[in-house]
Symmetry: C2
Subunit: 147 residues, 2 copies
């Protein structure tokens, strides 16, 4: 069973070692085994971190991630609280998917005829629709679309 050093884990998932130590500190990773004071990981930590990374890309906060994926401590499997949280998250994601389509249309339109008129027009449309829509909390600013 190959044991990974923190630097190796970091390299494989594209984070810095400091981020991994931080994740342990805030409870997203369990305290790692030590050998001579140093953290040793087995490869399952990579799967866990892959999910974390992906969830971060979707705009989940670390706190949400901890609760959604690793927060079913001694509670019953799929407790009511957890179910609510993930149901809300699912709704958020659906809304987000719709808005992505809209933003794609806007970008397409602006690329075809790069006119300020189009922008204002679109703003008008967004404004009217957003009166109908329920409010969506903007994603955490850390939500990045590129690496």
């Amino acid at each position: 069973m190959s044991q990974l050093l923190i630097s190796e884990v970091a390299r494989q998932i594209g984070l810095r070692a400091s981020a991994i130590r931080y994740y342990e500190q805030v409870g997203i990773l369990p305290p790692a085994q030590r050998r001579g004071g140093q953290r040793r990981y087995d490869s399952t930590v990579l799967y866990r971190l892959a999910v974390v990374q992906r969830a971060r890309q979707m705009g989940f906060t670390l706190e949400e991630i901890r609760q959604l994926f690793f927060g079913f401590r001694k509670a019953t499997p799929a407790s009511e609280r957890w179910r609510k949280l993930s149901q809300r998250k699912l709704a958020d994601l659906e809304l987000l998917a719709g808005q992505i389509k809209e933003m794609q249309r806007l970008l397409q339109a602006m690329m075809e005829k790069c006119s300020c008129g189009a922008l204002e027009q679109c703003g008008k449309g967004i404004l009217q629709r957003s009166c109908e829509e329920s409010y969506i909390k903007p994603l955490p600013s850390r939500h990045r679309l590129h690496r």
Copy 2:
């Protein structure tokens, strides 16, 4: 032509006045007209801000928004640079849309049987796919998390 006070604009789009001043400061809004030192707006500012809000919801940074929508700086060969930016953004959005579906599936699976199996399975999948992706576009050796 009705002139809006900053507080009125703020109220209508759901931001604080301080945020609007900040947007002016960082170049997302042009310097407003003044009357007796106070900013006055006409209603087109609402359209502009509606687009900004929506773009923020999609995870664009203010800097990106400035460049994408209002970044026609004098040294810019107009549409070419802009076209590249939005093309990249479109690709990002498409990727994101796919990832949202994946995340929805994971959450669904975890709701049905709150299983670590699903989590690991999914993490494995993500990890493998991201390996293929990084084959297409190899990561720079030093992974930049900021700026």
